[in-house]
């Protein structure tokens, strides 16, 4: 394969070049170069930007902004993002994590997109040169998206409120059977006052488990307390079937793993 790559110093110029037919943005290349190597002829040209803000992480006043070109390895080793390290380390093996970007993960089809699941639970905002979009809306419309993602931003979760679990068959780096991320706020008596739960592999892209979130609110994180949430866990899901697991299997095991995450 041979694909012409155009490199631009600014996102603005790269966005203009990306308008050409057949052009795709190059993040870490772990999916887009792989596709070209496999003979995907829909990609005829690649565009990237080296604008420095794309590669920076800023943590200030409890808010986090991660540039779209930041890699999973950089997130996993960042001293102030310890809460997210597990989710960043869930993406591939060491070489993939050194290349895979947070921007690219937003576009990765299931069974990939483990970090995007974490970002969905964190209610992240996706930034482009044109403005900001809540991640859930961004993910719903991502197939038609032509603008370069510049950043993801979110409120740093309080210690213990963020949880992440990736279930895979091959350890330590197999592809997901499913992944789950949650942000749970609890009152001093342990009652869940708000819950955001995001699921990976339970649809073609990360999705919120709205019914489970509702069923968990006002309950405690005990076996009995979480039972209604587990019963509602599969509501609205349409899991993928792939060589790792069937849709049926994913639906069967989702409540088991959600239960483990909530009781951890």
């Amino acid at each position: 394969m041979a694909l012409a790559l155009q490199t631009f110093a600014t996102v603005k110029d790269a966005n203009a070049a990306l308008k050409a037919q057949g052009s795709r943005y190059l993040g870490g290349g772990t999916l887009v170069v792989r596709a070209a190597n496999e003979g995907d002829v829909s990609v005829s040209g690649l565009v990237r930007s080296t604008e420095p803000s794309l590669s920076t992480i800023v943590v200030a006043g409890g808010k986090v902004r991660i540039g779209a070109s930041v890699t999973m390895a950089a997130i996993a080793s960042h001293p102030e993002l310890g809460a997210l390290a597990k989710a960043a380390r869930a993406v591939g093996g060491p070489a993939i994590r050194n290349m895979a970007t947070v921007g690219g993960n937003l576009f990765a089809p299931a069974p990939y997109g483990d970090f995007a699941v974490a970002l969905l639970a964190l209610d992240a905002i996706v930034g482009t040169d044109d403005g900001e979009t809540p991640i859930e809306i961004f993910l719903a419309k991502r197939d038609g998206s032509r603008a370069i993602v510049t950043s993801v931003s979110f409120t740093l979760p309080k210690a213990d409120s963020f949880r992440f679990l990736k279930v895979s068959r091959v350890k330590p780096k197999g592809v997901s059977v499913l992944s789950i991320a949650s942000v749970l706020e609890r009152s001093p008596d342990g009652i869940v006052s708000s819950a955001r739960i995001a699921l990976g592999c339970m649809a073609d892209r990360p999705m919120r488990a709205r019914a489970a979130e509702k069923a968990l609110t006002g309950r405690s994180l005990t076996k009995d307390g979480i039972a209604p949430a587990l019963a509602a866990a599969s509501d609205g899901t349409s899991p993928i079937t792939d060589p790792i697991a069937s849709a049926w299997y994913r639906n069967e095991v989702l409540p088991v793993h959600l239960g483990r995450l909530l009781l951890a």
Binding site: A2, A4, L5, G29, V33, N37, P94, A95, M99, K173
Partner: protein
Amino acid sequence: MAKVPVQFTLNGSEKAEFVDSGTTLLHALRDKIGDTSPKGGCHQGTCGACSVIIDGELRLSCLTLAETCNGATISTTSGLSESGVLHPLQRAFLDTFATQCGFCTPGMIMAAKVLLDHTPNPSRDEVIEALSGNICRCTGYEPIIQAVLTAARSNSQNAA
């Protein structure tokens, strides 16, 4: 196809080449420069046989475009031995029978080298984690893990 210039340091030597835009680093190393130590197994990022070290980080040369390596420092397994003396990792792979067909070996050694550069005395679990992106069809992995632990021990003995 447009040719683009690319310059990088490969195993201590300056390289300057014109490559077709979009050429992978794996292709440039093997077919242009003649360093055949990185192997092309899957070209999909799955096998790790093409692993090289770019600016201190383990990367897959099959998914890296050569022109994005301008100004980089790249290490491959062919640059590890010095004055005909094998690197401790190469020696350990031979001594512990961690190489059978040998196809995965250069990628395994690069992955192990990055680990030992940062963690000179790794635990077994750290070795497993470091090699988790590299597939071997022959050895069953145990001899490879032992080779890396052996090389780590010999390094620490040399340092003592």
